[in-house]
C-alpha cells in the first residue's frame, strides 16, 4: 500500500491534530451529497465545552458561551488557517475508503500484529529507516528542484553517513548525537505545489491512500527514483513493498483505531488532515527555499482554500 502521503503518517498527523477542542461537523450518517459541504471546525478554549453536534449538517446545539467562543476564535491572531480541499469524487472516495479500511482490518493489521509479536521494535524501526534512506534520490532531487540547496546538502550528508556508518541505512546516526542533520521529507507533490500548481481535488486511491491530481504525480516520480524499483526483477517489488507496508503498520497499530473512535466521520477527518498536512508541508518547504521563500500560500482556485 504505497501512498502519495503514507497513510500511516497521515494517521499519526490526524491523531496528533485531533484534540477534544476540534469538532468535525460532517455527519457520518449523512448522504454523500450533503457531506460535500464541510462545516468549519470550531476550536474551543481549554476547559470550555465543545459544541455538540445535533446530527444535522450545519446545525449545532445552542451553547450559552458559543458567541464568546466564536469571538475568541475569530479574534485569535494566532489561529491556524483552516485548509479544505474540493471533493467532487466523494462517492468514489468513500468506496475507496471502505476498501482501504477493510484492507487494513482484514489483511494488514492481522499480519502486522503477528509480525510485531515476532520482530522486536528496534529491528522494525531499523527496517523503516532503511526504506527511508533508500529513497534519498527522491528527497535530494526535490530539494534541488525547490531551490533548497542547504536541504540537498543535508540530505546528501544524511545519506552518506547513514549508509556508511548506519549499516546501509538501518541506523540513523545522522539524526542523533552531535551531528543532528534533520530529515528533509519532501516529494514531487510539494515541489509542484511550490511552483504554484494547485491541489485540484481530493482522491482517495485504493491501497495508495489520500492524494490529489497534483500529488498523484508523485506516484510515478517515486517509482522512477526509488532505488528499490530497480532491485532485481520486476516481481521483487511484489515482495519488498508489502513488507514495507507491514513493517510500517506494525509501528502504528492502534492509531488508526484511535482516529476512528475520536472522529465523527473518519473519512472527513483524513481528508481534512491530508489537505492541512500538505498545505503546511509546502509552506514549510517554501520557507527553506532561496527562490520561493517570498511566494504566498497556494490559494489558487484549483488549490486548497485557506480560511481564517
Amino acid at each position: 500500500m504505497r501512498h502519495c502521503i503514507p497513510l500511516m503518517t497521515l494517521i499519526l498527523l490526524i491523531a496528533a491534530g485531533l484534540t477534544p477542542g476540534y469538532g468535525l461537523a460532517s455527519d457520518p450518517q449523512q448522504s454523500p451529497e450533503n457531506s460535500l459541504s464541510v462545516q468549519q471546525p470550531t476550536r474551543a478554549k481549554a476547559g470550555s465545552v465543545p459544541a455538540h453536534n445535533t446530527g444535522k449538517p450545519g446545525i449545532t446545539d445552542k451553547d450559552p458561551y458559543s458567541d464568546e467562543q466564536n469571538l475568541d476564535y475569530d479574534d485569535d491572531p494566532f489561529a491556524e488557517p483552516k485548509v479544505t480541499i474540493a471533493d467532487p469524487l466523494e462517492p468514489f472516495n468513500r468506496i475507496s475508503y471502505q476498501f482501504n479500511d477493510k484492507l487494513y482490518y482484514w489483511a494488514v493489521k492481522p499480519v502486522a500484529t503477528v509480525y510485531k509479536w515476532i520482530v522486536p521494535e528496534p529491528a522494525r524501526i531499523s527496517v523503516k529507516q532503511f526504506y527511508f534512506n533508500a529513497k534519498f534520490p527522491i528527497r535530494f532531487i526535490n530539494c534541488l528542484l525547490q531551490a533548497d540547496f542547504s536541504g540537498a546538502g543535508i540530505e546528501f550528508g544524511r545519506f552518506t553517513i547513514n549508509t556508511i556508518w548506519g549499516i546501509g541505512g538501518l541506523l540513523d546516526p545522522a539524526a542523533g548525537g552531535e551531528i543532528k542533520l534533520a530529515k528533509q521529507d519532501t516529494d514531487f507533490g510539494q515541489t509542484l505545489g511550490m511552483y504554484g500548481v494547485g491541489h485540484g481535488f481530493y482522491i482517495l486511491w485504493p491501497v495508495l491512500g489520500p492524494s490529489s491530481p497534483r500529488d498523484s504525480v508523485d506516484i510515478a516520480g517515486e517509482y522512477l527514483l526509488d532505488p528499490l524499483s530497480y532491485f532485481g526483477p520486476w516481481y521483487t517489488g511484489i515482495g519488498i513493498r508489502p513488507f514495507k507496508i507491514i513493517n510500517n503498520a506494525s509501528l502504528v497499530i492502534g492509531e488508526y483505531e484511535s482516529l476512528q473512535e475520536a472522529a465523527l466521520d473518519p473519512y472527513v477527518a483524513i481528508r481534512d488532515a491530508y489537505a492541512q498536512y500538505r498545505a503546511k508541508a509546502i509552506k514549510a518547504r517554501k520557507a527553506r527555499s532561496l527562490i520561493f521563500k517570498d511566494v504566498g500560500t497556494d490559494d489558487s482556485p484549483a488549490g486548497p482554500s485557506v480560511k481564517k
Binding site: 553517513i161 556508511i164 556508518w165 548506519g166 549499516i167 546501509g168 541506523l171 546516526p173 542523533g176 548525537g177 552531535e178 551531528i179
Partner: protein, 243 residues
C-alpha cells in the same frame, strides 16, 4: 596454492562505545600482506573494505561483527616445478568476495592513562576464489581452474594502551594467529603444487605484532590507523562513529 585469510584491523583494546553501553559502527580499509606455505612459500596480497557494527559497555568489553569484501592475489601460485610444464601466468588473481568477521575484546584500566586488553577475532570467506591456469605440458597447451576455498583464520592477542591528551589512544601488542584454506585444481597438472586433491595451506608465521593510534575527530567520529607485522607488513585505517 595459498589461502586468503584476511582478518583486518584489531582496533584499540578499549571499546569506544559509551560507558553506559551503546553501538559504534565503522567503515575501514585494510591492505594485507602475508606469506603462506605448504611445500613452498607464496606471498599473498589483499585489499579489504569492510563495515563493522560493535556493541560495548563500561569501557571494558566489546563484541563486534564485520562484513566486507576482499580481493586476492597470490604471487607465483602457478609456478611449475616440472621440466615439461610451463605456465604462462604465474600469479593467481580474483576479484572481490565477501568476508565475515566476528570478534570480542576486553580491557582492564590500570589508571586513567594506561591499561591492558585482550581480543579474539575470527574471519571466514563466504565464497571461493577461482582463477584459471594456462600453460604448456609436453608441447600441449592446457587450461585449468584453480579454486581456493574454505578460507578462515583466527587471531588472539593482547595489547597495551595509553590514552594521551585530546583522547588519543596509542596501543601495541603481540598476537598469535592461525589461517587455513583448501586449494584444488580441477585437473592435476604435473609440476603444479596443487593437484586435483585438496591441499591445506597454512600461514608461515604464527606470531605477529600490531600497533595503532585512535584519534577522536569531530561529532562522535574517530580515526583509527593500525599496522600489523607477521611475515610481511599490513596497514589499514578505519573511521568509527559512536552512538
Amino acid at each position: 596454492m595459498a589461502p586468503s585469510a584476511v582478518g583486518g584491523m584489531f582496533g584499540p583494546p578499549q571499546t569506544v562505545s559509551r560507558e553506559s553501553g551503546g553501538l559504534n559502527t565503522t567503515i575501514g580499509y585494510w591492505y594485507y600482506e602475508d606469506t603462506y606455505k605448504n611445500d613452498t612459500s607464496h606471498p599473498i596480497r589483499q585489499h579489504h573494505v569492510y563495515s563493522q557494527v560493535s556493541y560495548g559497555s563500561k569501557n571494558i568489553w566489546e563484541i563486534y561483527g564485520r562484513i566486507g569484501v576482499s580481493d586476492l592475489k597470490i604471487f607465483d601460485a602457478s609456478k611449475s616445478t616440472h621440466i615439461y610444464t610451463t605456465t604462462i601466468k604465474d600469479h593467481f588473481e580474483e576479484n572481490w568476495k565477501f568476508v565475515g568477521t566476528l570478534g570480542a575484546k576486553g580491557f582492564v584500566a590500570f589508571n586513567s592513562i594506561f591499561g591492558i586488553g585482550a581480543f579474539v577475532q575470527a574471519s571466514y570467506n563466504f565464497s571461493n576464489y577461482t582463477d584459471n591456469l594456462v600453460g604448456i605440458y609436453h608441447s600441449t597447451p592446457f587450461t585449468d581452474d584453480l579454486k581456493v576455498k574454505n578460507l578462515w583464520n583466527v587471531n588472539f592477542g593482547i595489547g597495551a594502551q595509553a590514552t594521551v591528551p585530546y583522547g588519543i589512544k596509542l596501543y601495541a601488542g603481540p598476537f598469535i594467529y592461525y589461517a587455513e584454506a583448501d586449494a584444488q585444481l580441477a585437473c592435476g597438472i604435473p609440476g603444479i603444487q596443487s593437484g586435483d586433491q585438496r591441499i591445506a595451506w597454512k600461514n608461515k608465521s604464527i606470531i605477529g605484532g600490531y600497533f595503532g593510534v585512535d584519534i577522536p575527530l569531530a561529532k562522535g567520529f574517530r580515526l583509527n590507523i593500525e599496522g600489523q607485522y607477521t611475515d610481511r607488513f599490513s596497514i589499514g585505517s578505519a573511521i568509527t562513529y559512536t552512538y
